[in-house]
Amino acid sequence: MSGRALPAPLRAFRRPLGAVAGGWLAAVILAALFAPLLTPYDYDIQALKEAYQPASARHWLGTDEFGRDLLTRLIYGARTSLSVSGIAIALSVACGMTLGAAAAWFGGWFDRAVTVVVDLTWSFPEILIALILVAIIGPGTTGTMVAISVAYLAQFTRLTRAQILTLKSETFIEAARSLGAGNAHILFRHLLPNALAPVLVSAMLATGDAIILEATLGFFGLGAQPPVPSWGGMMSAGSALVFKAPWIIIFPGLAVAVTVVAINLFGDALIAELDIRARMRRQV
């Protein structure tokens, strides 16, 4: 195999579907990063006289109910949606890996307790967990982020735990022990690095789900608060205007769907490239 030449995340680009999906994702991320450079409009300045315009040369995707450029808001919305779900999942992965690794490592009652709690929460729909948490924390970006990360905690804890447990029985761990390796060495030099790839790939796939979750929270009016745009918030606002100005809900919906499909395709390509299908055993 010659794959070692490319860093792992880039290897998915070697498959046609992976390249297309990766291209879209890169474009979305770049657009979100350089949003102010890409569009002459502001996301929050209202021009009420220009409200409800369909797509035109001036406003490529039309304007919303406040006369704001929809494309601009979509691009800024990508910022919110991607960063909220991205950060939330990163948080979730960090906590989930720690928890899962600790459970697998220490075993005993701690492991059993973690397993029971995690299995129980894993059995609840993420949206319900997130809604409960947002109700507790209060609406807004931070609340959404925390809620999403807790909602996915169980998934990563489970996955990490399972990974570490299988890895723990691998002979190379025993081999390291036979050389005199201590716990820290085994955990940080063998177990975690090996568990990382599947966890990261599933984190990436979960980011797609988190975008949908963020959009759904936005639909309940609980995500980013106006005028900051998020895809979910835009759809939520647009749902009441679906007859009057369907483009207001259609474009953010498309953005979500296409991006999430792209994430999934890219993830699949990555799984195939990294040859970790057996270890992924996606349950979601």
Partner: protein
């Protein structure tokens, strides 16, 4: 004959049909209960459960002659005794103010009752015609306690409660014994429709789709932005009634920086009502520049008290109060940015309105951060008193709503502005209890209203018209509609086509 109506989104989630304890009642209440007095479209008062009445010249007593042969849904008779027990229940309740002026209820005979007044109450008939003074059956009311209005309800109304799932739907069935309808309706009973379902649909667009596809027969409130869509449909008709709503922005006078009246005034005058009318409400309805609907005489306050868009004044006031405009367009004082919270409820029209308000505040340098609450819970949130600014609306057609929303004893909710001003309390007492007749009452309330406006505990925004949309192919609306809105009177005459 069956019909399905959709309640106004502002009534969604009303937890009970207990008129004495509730602060939020939905339309179905008016069909479960009758009132002593009915009010016509021209706001004149007409008999209902009371066949006639006399007011003593000094206003210190009222005598009501009651209809005979009226029974409650549970078979209990409706008599003078009932009235005495009923009014007694108001003491200490949420809606005590409704009957506060009545010192004593004397049962003259089976069908005659006399209210001995503590003070003259020019608003007596209005109160008696409001749904909060729906006549309940006192025996079951006491027995059922908190369950009254939730699991069981007994009134004298043209419909009986079959089932009530809070937030979902209420099913009413016809009271076949009903013969005592208001004379304002052609039909005094029983009703023509046999079964009525009131659905609560939080999403305006869903409700509209239901109407459009024939899933429901009538929407009690059509949001302005859907009006055009309704009008496009051949099978739908819109009934435009005088509005009783006012959209406004309460300002919490206890929370800095709004403890400074200059900042309050600035915020109030930053609101461009015309722009909102045009852009959010499509030009339907009128702007509001006082707290009361313009149909009320008490809304004729002095010109100076009217709150109108005046950005120059708003900016000047903020400058004066020491809030200096920053480079980012947000004012600041002592390094603190002028950042405030702006609460709203999740219904789409509120969200849209609030977003425009936010932009308008920003235009004078006030950065408002929106927090959206579910409409069913926002009242509870106000009770915490944590709000600074909010966008809300009320629906009432009497000046005493000023007392309700700005009375110093109702801080939090309904007094969202937390307004508690000694002078206002004085004026309020005069308005609520000091008038001997209607003229005095109007004068007192106008003064009270006028003063409240000058303290800027809120900014008036918009007065809609009341648009009721219904399916022409299904419903026959009575002509003319002898009431200010589509309620018990209209429904008595309403028919369902098969």
């Amino acid at each position: 004959q069956e019909a399905v109506f959709v309640l106004n989104t502002s009534e969604v989630g009303a937890p009970t049909y207990n008129p004495i304890k509730a602060t939020n009642l939905n339309k179905a209440t008016t069909l479960l209960f009758d009132r002593l007095v009915s009010q016509a479209a021209d706001l004149s008062y007409h008999p209902w459960l009371a066949e006639s009445w006399e007011e003593a010249p000094d206003g210190m007593s009222w005598t009501f002659h009651l209809k005979k042969g009226v029974t409650f849904h549970n078979g209990e008779p409706f008599t003078a005794e009932t009235i005495a027990k009923w009014l007694d229940l108001f003491k200490g309740s949420e809606n005590a103010y409704m009957a506060e002026a009545i010192a004593e209820v004397q049962v003259v005979d089976e069908a005659t009752v006399k209210f001995v007044m503590a003070r003259p109450e020019p608003n007596m008939l209005y109160n008696l015609s409001s749904s909060y003074m729906s006549v309940i059956e006192p025996k079951s009311f006491v027995e059922l306690g908190d369950n009254y209005g939730v699991t069981e309800v007994y009134g004298t109304g043209p419909f009986k409660l079959e089932s009530f799932a809070v937030g979902q739907e209420t099913v009413l069935v016809r009271n076949d014994d009903y013969t005592w309808g208001s004379p304002l309706a052609k039909n005094t009973g029983p009703a023509k429709i046999e079964k009525l379902t009131f659905r609560e649909i939080a999403e305006d667009s869903t409700a509209f789709l239901e109407l459009k596809t024939g899933g429901v027969d009538m929407l009690f409130g059509v949001p302005a932005d859907l009006l055009a869509e309704v009008q496009k449909e051949a099978n739908l008709a819109v009934l435009t009634l005088p509005g009783q709503d006012v959209y406004y922005m309460p300002i919490n006078v206890t929370k800095a920086p709004f403890d400074d009246i200059r900042v309050r005034e600035a915020a109030a005058k930053a609101i461009n009502q015309e722009e909102i009318l045009a852009s959010v409400f499509g030009g339907v309805g009128t702007v509001a520049d006082t707290f009361l609907i313009s149909a009320l005489p008490e809304s004729k306050v002095s010109d100076g008290a009217k709150i109108k868009y005046d950005p120059a004044r708003a900016n000047a006031l903020l400058d004066e109060a020491g809030w200096v405009m920053g480079a980012d367009g947000v004012r600041a004082k002592d390094g603190q940015p002028l950042q405030v919270s702006l609460w709203t409820q999740s219904d789409s029209i509120f969200r849209r309105l609030t977003e425009v308000v936010q932009a308008q505040l920003k235009a004078v340098g006030i950065a408002a951060e929106i927090t959206t609450f579910d409409s069913s819970m926002i009242r509870d949130q106000y009770k915490t008193g944590e709000q600074q600014l909010a966008v809300r609306s009320y629906n009432w057609d009497n000046a005493d709503i000023v007392d309700w929303f700005f009375g110093g004893d109702r801080l939090g909710y309904p007094n969202v502005s937390m307004f508690n001003d000694p002078k206002a309390e004085e004026l309020r007492a005069a308005a609520m209890t000091g008038a001997k007749n209607m003229e005095e009452r109007v004068a007192n309330f106008t003064a009270y209203h006028d003063y409240v406006l000058t303290q800027f505990p809120m900014a008036p925004i918009y007065q809609p018209v009341n648009s009721v949309a219904y399916n022409k192919d299904r419903l026959v609306m009575p002509e003319p509609l002898n009431a200010a809105d589509v309620g018990a009177i209209a429904i008595m005459d309403m028919e369902v086509k098969d």
